[in-house]
Each structure stands twice: as structure tokens, then as C-alpha cells.
């Protein structure tokens, strides 16, 4: 991952038009060798289009895709050194597991004995030795998942593309597969390009994440960058949960600023280098876990945002429990309860004091998302 390594995948000014609509708009990025790169965005943002262009199922309207430095223009899907794990896995139902995994090797013209050896090695590696003779529909969801990955990995592709492969799994298994996928990527030591609309999948697994919206990359960075230092209002709203206010800036002092929200609150926030001036309309995002609860206003003296309100709802969810607090302006603010179990005894209608530091209030020009 040092910068002097040539990127495994390089997309330069990639653009795709469908008729009048611009699905992918001048997107450029590099994926370093051996890294886990995710493209995160809502459905219809163009992430699937990018993936299909890399795989070769779509031709870019303009721009170039290079894999290990070689341009892919005009190279058909079956000649590209990339393979893809499809959303619904697309295992071949008419073949058994061994034939599924061996399909690509047979296409390469390998001998029977060598194919059998490689297939066995791949099954060993995904922790499912000896299931080669089974049928596809005899496997569980998680097993199919692993077979789909093995079917690509036996071909030793330069880049493995994964198109929301966890979407079809049920909840508990999905949590488990997140960890497992990351481990498989480390074991195979191959570049993974992963697309998803689920921010927690992207955050947990990726080395680098590109947040995509309306055909453009809003921000590319590590999970921590996106979460703590979003570049745009869209990223702040899409990655993780956030309370959100709109208002007008009344004072700017270096990075710190004061905003009068439309509902009438006065909040302090930070612009983190963005161009915002007094009188501009702005949006403030505050994460629920950045807000502290206290029994008395004195406990919150060190915060420059302090609000008194009443609890309207308790959203118990174990370690991720939250409360909704109605502030004096009538809006509801989501606040994460401390994991320690403090304040777990709060109930509907209780008065609480909440506060957060102005530095935690990310400000963006309004209307940007």
C-alpha cells in the first residue's frame, strides 16, 4: 500500500451515459494492490454501472480503465483479469460445486487432474473440503457465498469485484460474513472492489471507501475519515446516523461558528475548512454519540451547546440504545445512551439536559445534498 506501488486498478475520467442520463460522471480513482476498496452509495447512484464497466459488461462512454497498467478498452469480459461475485451469486445450478469452481479452469484449457487439484485446494481454503460433489441448492447461504468467491479466486484474478454479495443473507449471517470476507481477502491477498449501499459493511471491511452519489464520488477515504471528517453534507448524512439542522450563520470565529436554526435554536459548530460566511444558509450535523446526557446543566458546563428537553421515546437496542429528546423548539434529537448503562432508567417524559462540543457540529453550505 506504499504509494510507489503501481495501482492494481486505475480508472481515469470514467463516464457513462445512458441516453440523456449521466450514470457515471467523470470518475477517477486508483486501487492499490492487495487493498479492500468499497464504493458506497444509495441505489441508483451509479456504483453498479462502474462495476459493470470494470468487468467489461458495459463500455465506458469515455475514459479508460487500466488493470495492472494495461488498458481494458475493447477487451471482452472473458479476457479480462478480473472476476466478479454477483449479487445473487449466480452459481451454475446445472453443475455440482466442483464443476462450478472448475468452470473457469476448464475454460483455460487445464488438464483434468490439475483442475481437480486446484478445486480441492480452493475448497480447503474456504473451509469447505469435500463438498465438491454436492449440488448448489444443498448448500446454506453462507456456504454458497464462499463457493462463489472460490469460483473466482481459483482463476487468480488481479482484481475481484463484489456486487453487494451479502444482500441476500439474513441478518445474523451478514454480521458474521463481514468479518469472514475481510479474512478471506487477507488470506487470498487479492485486491477486492466491493460495492454496497450498506454503510456498516463498507466501514467494517474496507481499507478505502468511495462514497458515491448521482454519478460522482463525493469523498474517497478511510472509514474514519468519512465518519469523523465528512467532506460534504451528503457524506455526513449517509455515513452513520446524525441529527441535522438547517439555519443561517450568525457568527464566524476562525473554524468555529454560530448558527441560528430555522426552528429557533442557537447552535455552535465548526466548518473544518469549508467556505462559510455570516449570513450563509448552512446545515449542521451532530452524531447521536457525540451528545452527552446529564442530570444537571452544571455537568455540561464544558460544552458550548447545551439543551434542556424531555424524553419522548426510548429506543432500547442493547449497547446501541438511544433516546429521543424533544428540545424547546419542538424538534426531536437522537442521543445515544452510554454503554455503561448509566441513564438506562430514564423513562418517557423525564426532563434531561444534553450537550455537545461545537467541534462535533459539522457545518456545510445548505442545499449541497
Amino acid at each position: 500500500m506504499t504509494p510507489d506501488l503501481a495501482p492494481d486498478l486505475n480508472c481515469a475520467r470514467l463516464t457513462k451515459r445512458f441516453g440523456d442520463t449521466l450514470a457515471v460522471d467523470d470518475v477517477s480513482f486508483d486501487v492499490p494492490p492487495g487493498s479492500f476498496f468499497s464504493i458506497l452509495g444509495p441505489s441508483g447512484c451509479g456504483k453498479t454501472t462502474i462495476m459493470r464497466m470494470i468487468a467489461g459488461f458495459l463500455d465506458p462512454s469515455s475514459g479508460d480503465i487500466r488493470i495492472k497498467g494495461r488498458s481494458m478498452a475493447g477487451v471482452p469480459p472473458n479476457k479480462r483479469p478480473v472476476n466478479m461475485v454477483f449479487q445473487h451469486l449466480a452459481l451454475f445450478p446445472m453443475m455440482n460445486i466442483a464443476d462450478n469452481i472448475g468452470y473457469g479452469l476448464r475454460r483455460q484449457g487445464l488438464g483434468k487432474a490439475e483442475i481437480a487439484r486446484k478445486v480441492d485446494a480452493a475448497l480447503e481454503r474456504i473451509g469447505l473440503p469435500g463438498i465438491g460433489a454436492r449440488k448448489v441448492d444443498e448448500l446454506s447461504g453462507g456456504q454458497k457465498q464462499r463457493v462463489a468467491i472460490a469460483r473466482c479466486m481459483v482463476l487468480e484474478p488481479d482484481v475481484l469485484l463484489l456486487d453487494e454479495p451479502l444482500g441476500a443473507l439474513d441478518l445474523k449471517l451478514r454480521e458474521h460474513m463481514k468479518v469472514e470476507l475481510k479474512a478471506l481477502q487477507a488470506a487470498f491477498d487479492t485486491t477486492f472492489v466491493y460495492i454496497t449501499h450498506d454503510q456498516s459493511e463498507a466501514l467494517v471491511m474496507s481499507d478505502q471507501i468511495a462514497v458515491m452519489n448521482n454519478g460522482v464520488f463525493e469523498q474517497v477515504g478511510s472509514a474514519r475519515d468519512l465518519y469523523y471528517r465528512p467532506d460534504t453534507a451528503f457524506v455526513a448524512g449517509f455515513v452513520g446516523d446524525a441529527n441535522r439542522w438547517q439555519g443561517r450563520i450568525t457568527a464566524v470565529n476562525g473554524e468555529a461558528m454560530q448558527i441560528e436554526t430555522d426552528s429557533g435554536l442557537t447552535l455552535r459548530g465548526a466548518r473544518h475548512g469549508r467556505s462559510l460566511n455570516v449570513g450563509d444558509r448552512a446545515e449542521v450535523f451532530v452524531r447521536p454519540e457525540a451528545i452527552r446526557i446529564a442530570g444537571t446543566p452544571e455537568d455540561l458546563q464544558h460544552f458550548d451547546n447545551r439543551i434542556t428537553g424531555t424524553v419522548t421515546s426510548l429506543l432500547f437496542n442493547g449497547a446501541a440504545s438511544r433516546i429521543l429528546v424533544r428540545d424547546t423548539a419542538g424538534e426531536e434529537i437522537e442521543v445515544t445512551l452510554p454503554q455503561s448503562g448509566e441513564y438506562a432508567a430514564l423513562s418517557r417524559g423525564d426532563a434531561v439536559h444534553i450537550g455537545w462540543s461545537g467541534d462535533q457540529g459539522n457545518c456545510f453550505p445548505a442545499g449541497a445534498a
Partner: protein, 285 residues
Amino acid sequence: MRAEAKLGFILLLTPLLLWLTLLIFIPHVDMFLVSLRERVGVGKHDTSLANYRTFLTEPLYLWTFLRTAVMSVVATAITLIIAFPVSYYIAKIAKGRLQSALFLLCLIPFYVSELVRTFGWMILLRETGLVSNLLLWAGLADQPVEMLYNDAAIMVGLVYTSMLFMVVPLVTTLESLDDSVIEAGYDLGGTGFSVLREIVIPHAAPGIVSGCIVVFMLSLGNYLTPTMLGGKDSLWFTELIYSQFIVRFNWELGAAFGFMLLFLSSLIVWGMLKITGQTLEKTMG
């Protein structure tokens, strides 16, 4: 299920069961019984296999059946070869309105009466018809050409009539093949031909088999097309049956012929299923 619902289902099933027993089994059983009767005098009959003996000992009858069967197999093969790309196009490539329009096209043969359609071709292909005149005018023939009354004309008629029965099961099975499975085939290094052979055809096999069975049986049992488009040498087995019933009034022999058609064609279908390793159950999916 509650009792009243059950009653409802029984009422619903009644017409089906009635239809089944009355219209399918009884006529065939009765036909079989009639075929076992040997006419020994006016209005007097004995039970014997004489009618079947007649069928097996007269070479013309056996020969006609063989000819009919071979022609039907050829017609089925041609229909499959034409229908497969058409079905693939309808199921996988055409979208929206185009898809509907193409499917509608396959329905057209049923919109026009088979009789009228056949006469249409007779007009077109006869010695003084449009095609013959076109060939003369273009200098490709130096005298009027008769294109009717031969096996090729029968073949065109059979294939045209059968198209829908091949396209419908093919489109149904091909539509059930996930697009991404085909894409995965290419993505993992497959060429168009290997994807077709290893993925598309194995998946479509049930549709191919059921389409072929129906088309084969329809061709074998067709009466109007071979009679009207075929020549004197193009005797079709159904014509033999027709002449026994209507011309010679020998219903007993006609019934035996009818039963042999059903039996031998079932044998052929069964043999084909065995050879291709398909079962009827798989075919119904």
C-alpha cells in the same frame, strides 16, 4: 383448511375431472375396443387382432407411418433450430414493447384459420402463382414452376404451424435463467459457444424437450397441411385413417390405425426421452 373451503375446491375440481374422464379416457378406451372387432358379416363382429395384423402385414401402411414419423422428426428439428434463437431473443435481449410484439408475432398463426392460411400458400406457390411468376420474370426459370404438392411445402406448413408450441416453452425456461448466470459464464472466461453449450442449453433442456414432444405429436397428427400442400406421393398417416373412416367406412380398421398412431408415437417419444436422459417430470419442472 375449513370444511366449506374444501367443498369449494371439490366443486372447482369437478369440471376438470369430468373433462378428464369423459373426453380423454373413454373415447380412447372405446376406440381400442372397436379396433379389436373383426367384421365377419354385415353387422356381425368377432373379437380379434385382425385389424392390427392388417396394419403390420401391409407394407404401404407401415411405410406411410415411417415416412410420417421421419418427416415429423425433421419438422421438429427445423422448428427447434429456428425457434431457439428467436426465443433467446425474446426472453433475454428484447425488452418491453419489443418483447411483447415479438411474442404476439408467434401468436399470429393462431389468429388466421389453418385452412385459410393453407389456401393462402396454395395461391402463392401454385404454378400460376406469385412466386412462379416472379421466378419467370427474373429469368430464374424458363417455364412456370409448381412449388406445391411436394415435401418441402409440407415442411414449411408444419414448421409455421408449430412455431408457437416451441417458442412458448423455450421462452418460459429461458426467462427463468438468471441473466447474471450467463454473465458469470462470460466473466469466468467462457466464450459465446461454451456458455451456450454448458449453461444455456442445459438450463433450457426441459423446455426443449417439452417443446419437441408437442411439435412432434402435432406434426404427426396434422391432417389439413399434408393433405392440401402435399402431392400424391406425400401420403400422410392421418390420410390413411381418414380414408378408412370416411371413404371406406371401415371404422374398425380406422380405429386400429388411430390406436397404432398413438402407441407408436408414444414409443418414439419415450425412446427420445431415454436417449436424451430426460424424464417427463423434469420436463414439467
